[in-house]
């Protein structure tokens, strides 16, 4: 009989190893699934993991990797802070939308004036939009004890409705022949978020995501805020005894995650997306939750997980096009990744024991 036994201390080796084991298991189980669908599993896995980087169309897909990974990492870094403290901001998607609306509105307010101030003003507005949207669940929780999971999630749908209203109303392109959607900010030089090195996909948002990883790592390991976050997540009573004000921590964590999500929305609307349309948001805020956990809520881990997740998205699209794999199969493949991660995760706190119990 196999039994699970609690380890006296969580295993450090397994903490590092679980994502790799999970990826390996996903490849095996996913390969099996592709084989059952009548596709060559090796080719499918290669199409998903290898071709986007080194295949025939790599010159197109490689920049996409950073474009997709950038917002995922930026949002996930913010979320991981709260998640570690036991503050569950599930509404990053809404904060991302609000950041984009605020930023686009700010940029469009200056249109067509050219000034170097426009872009920084949009950055500030984007962050502010995300923060304000995150403050709604934060303050409701602090003041009335509401559940931040529900409130932040519900606000995503409010944000989507707001986005539609903006795209169809206030922010609609006056020269857009009545089609929904704003002017294209990417074609407005003062507001455009262009590649820092052309053709790489490395825009300002990606650069900020990398900075966020470094700052996040420093905060978590060397700063009091990171210590308090970990403390509050592990033992709330000890945290209060250690001088942490729970309400303050909720506001700070929600504010940071909302602000970063808002920034991600700002860089998206000013760059890759260009315009604010009704279908502007594509789920980065939700996928970032998976990225945060896949990266073990650790900044470096999130960097790798964000790149990996972006890779499966791009590779998944490629596999759909080239191998006629159904979208559902690709989504299942991505779901397996989280499933195996959580399953293998058990091994950090527990270990397997073979054999019978001493005396049954």
């Amino acid at each position: 009989m196999i039994r699970l036994e609690r380890r006296p201390e969580p295993s450090r080796a397994w903490t590092v190893a679980t994502p790799f084991v999970a990826v390996a298991l996903t490849m095996v189980a996913g390969g099996l699934m592709f084989a059952l669908l009548g596709k060559d599993p090796v080719e499918a896995i290669r199409t998903i993991f290898w071709d986007p980087l080194f295949g025939d169309f790599a010159s197109y897909s490689r920049p996409q990797l950073l474009v997709k990974a950038g917002p995922l990492i930026l949002i996930a870094i913010g979320l991981s802070l709260g998640f570690r403290a036991g503050i569950w901001n599930i509404g990053a998607e809404g904060q991302y939308i609000l950041g984009a609306i605020f930023a686009a509105a700010t940029g469009l307010a200056f249109y067509p004036a050219e000034s170097w101030l426009v872009f920084p003003a949009m950055i500030l507005a984007g962050a502010l939009g995300g923060i304000l949207w995150a403050m709604i669940p934060a303050l409701l929780k602090v003041r009335f004890g509401t559940n931040e999971v529900l409130v932040s999630l519900m606000l995503v749908y409010v944000a989507e409705a707001l986005l539609a209203s903006m795209a169809l109303g206030l922010l609609r392109n006056p020269e857009g022949m009545g089609f929904p959607g704003s002017r294209n900010l990417a074609q407005y030089p003062s507001a455009a978020n262009l590649d820092l090195i052309p053709g790489t996909g490395l825009h300002w948002g990606v650069a900020l995501a990398l900075i966020a990883v470094i700052v996040g790592q420093v905060v978590m390991t060397r700063h009091q805020l990171g210590f308090r976050v970990r403390l509050a997540g592990q033992s709330p009573r000890a945290a209060v005894f250690g001088g942490v004000n729970p309400g303050w921590l909720i506001v700070v964590c929600m504010g940071i995650s909302g602000g970063l999500a808002g920034l991600a929305g700002m860089f998206e609307v000013a760059g890759p997306a260009g315009r604010l349309g009704i279908d502007f948001n594509v789920g980065y805020g939700f996928t970032a939750i998976i990225v945060a956990f896949l990266g073990r809520l650790n900044p470096i881990g999130i960097l790798l997980a964000g790149l990996l997740m972006a890779l499966t998205y791009i590779g998944g699209e490629l596999a759909q096009l080239q191998m006629n794999l159904p979208l559902a199969a690709i989504q299942m493949f991505q779901g397996m990744l989280l499933f195996f991660l959580l399953a293998v995760d058990v091994l950090t706190a527990f270990r397997f024991r073979m054999g019978r119990r001493a005396v049954a």
Binding site: P8, R222, Q224, Q234, R237, A238, G243, V359
Partner: protein, 507 residues
């Protein structure tokens, strides 16, 4: 001679890295109160869990009534007439007494019949209990009655009691002892686990002493001196903590009419507490658990805010100051619950040093943590208080209770507090470590700090306090000099038997 009720022979149980019981053999006679003595970690719990069917021995046998007895689970033990009252109650606060009793039974009768049975049994044994009351409103002593009555309804032949008096006032202890004597007279055997030697001398007929999992002595406690038993338990001669004597200085902490609502459901509200604490003195606060100890400690540490004007530290109003600000001033606190309150279980000792020592030991600069200094401080605490651990990188959860207690108390003492509030400083700590902690507390007072020691252990309080006060229902009695205070007076200060008039005598 008749066969004993329960015979244990050669019971051995090993866990990875530790032998909990090694070749334990002794007998429990019918109608005998048998004491099981030993320090924490001596193997008492494992042994009684074996008898109760929670643990299966590696080798050795038990015989009940001369017949082999090897209960695979507690249900089988209960069916054979073995019942147990645990130290930590397994009761649901939100349910009433009868419902709680029903939850512990295999086939509970209808609730109104059960309520009738509870009334009958509890009155017959002098433990009056109202089956309709909500458990959350009961005192610790009354909760214990629920557990005892639950056992008695099963008409046990052997009743195991684990540290039954740790939550009782002296008067309640007397009521309990009357009940035990009555049971003994009916031929019920009782296995009585305790480390309070005077109680054992009062109630027990036989004693078996365990040390490091082995039986190291058997004696008749009525004729053996408490000190001899203690030294057999520890395996060494004991030294009593001592201090030069009570010079006291300025008033450092002043409570005037301290009142606060209960911070959580089934908590206790603090009511109009007045107190002056002087530098260099040790104030012992006794009382049955759940009478406001946690709440008072939290109000002093700053975890619970209080209205202005109620708490003054060296003349300064601090009711609204947070935990960190109070630490800066020199008002430190060590809570009762080690895991999850005084220490974060999954964090290393270095991180747990940072938990409270940041402000006074300069472990944080401009918001950045100084890991080197924190580690150094943790190492100093480990060394000074003889904390047995591989090093400061070890997770708090990996330490034994006593070692972690030494660490969390030591952590506060090493920060040179001006006022130190400790709640249950030696709870669950073995005798040698308890002596170390008490001595360190006395040394601290000697050096001029003011101490508030909250404890359930009256012997401990009498040993180290200059003045004694009792918490009862959230109010604090006026402190009195500890010297020469009799057990009856203390009992009265603790609130007597909490209006739970015993039914002994008339039945």
């Amino acid at each position: 001679m008749t066969t004993p009720l329960l015979e244990l022979s050669g019971l051995t149980k090993a866990y990875p890295g530790v032998v909990a019981n090694s070749e334990v053999s002794f007998d429990i006679a019918r109608g005998e109160v048998h004491a099981l003595l030993g320090e924490n970690g001596a193997g008492k719990s494992t042994l009684v869990k074996t008898i109760y069917g929670l643990v299966q021995p590696d080798t050795g046998q038990m015989r009940l009534d001369g017949k082999p007895f090897a209960p695979p689970e507690p249900r089988a033990a209960r069916a054979s007439g073995v019942a147990m009252v645990f130290q930590h109650f397994s009761l649901f606060d939100a349910m009433n007494v009868a419902e709680n009793v029903a939850l512990g039974m295999e086939e509970p009768p209808a609730l109104n019949r059960l309520a009738q049975q509870i009334r009958e049994v509890s009155n017959a044994y002098g433990l009056p209990l109202d089956p309709d009351r909500i458990v959350g409103d009961l005192s610790a002593g009354e909760r214990q009655r629920v557990e005892i009555v639950r056992c008695l309804l099963q008409e046990p032949r052997l009743l195991i009691m684990d540290e039954p008096t740790s939550v009782l006032t002296p008067q309640e202890v007397n009521i309990l002892f009357e009940t035990l004597r009555k049971l003994r007279a009916e031929g019920v055997s009782i296995l009585y686990i305790s480390h309070k030697l005077e109680e054992i001398r009062t109630i027990c007929d036989q004693a078996t002493i365990l040390r490091h999992g082995k039986v190291v002595g058997k004696c008749d406690p009525k004729t053996t001196a408490a000190r001899d038993m203690a030294e057999q338990m520890v395996g060494a001669t004991l030294s009593t903590p001592s201090r030069a004597g009570g010079r006291t200085g300025e008033v450092v902490l002043e409570l005037t009419g301290l009142s606060a609502p209960a911070p959580r459901a089934f908590g206790t509200a603090l009511r109009d507490i007045d107190l002056e604490l002087r530098a260099g003195e040790v104030l012992g606060i006794g009382g049955v658990a759940g009478n406001g100890q946690d709440e008072l400690a939290m109000a002093l540490s700053g975890e619970m805010a209080t209205a202005p004007g109620m708490i003054r530290f060296k003349g300064r109003e601090i009711g609204r100051e947070g935990v960190t600000a109070r630490r800066h001033m020199g008002l430190l606190c060590a809570p009762e619950e080690r895991m999850g309150h005084a220490a974060a279980p999954d964090m290393s000792l270095t991180e747990n040093a940072l938990l409270t020592a940041g402000p006074r030991e300069d472990l944080v600069r401009h918001g950045f943590l100084r890991w080197g200094r924190a580690k150094g401080f943790a190492e100093k605490v480990i060394e000074r208080f003889d904390v047995r651990t591989p090093g400061p990188g070890t997770a708090a959860r990996a330490l034994s209770g006593g070692n972690l207690q030494k660490f969390v108390i030591g952590r506060e003492i090493m920060q040179r507090p001006e006022v130190l509030v400790v709640n249950q400083p030696t709870w669950g700590v073995d005798a040698a470590a308890a002596a170390t902690i008490r001595q360190a507390l006395l040394d601290l007072a000697e050096a001029g700090a003011a101490l508030i020691v909250i404890s359930q252990d009256l012997d401990e309080l009498m040993e180290i306090s200059d003045r004694f006060a009792a918490l009862n229902g959230g109010t604090l009695s006026a402190p009195r000099p500890a010297q020469g205070l009799g057990i009856d007076e203390i009992g009265m200060m603790l609130g007597g038997a909490h209006d739970m008039a015993p039914a002994h005598g008339e039945s």
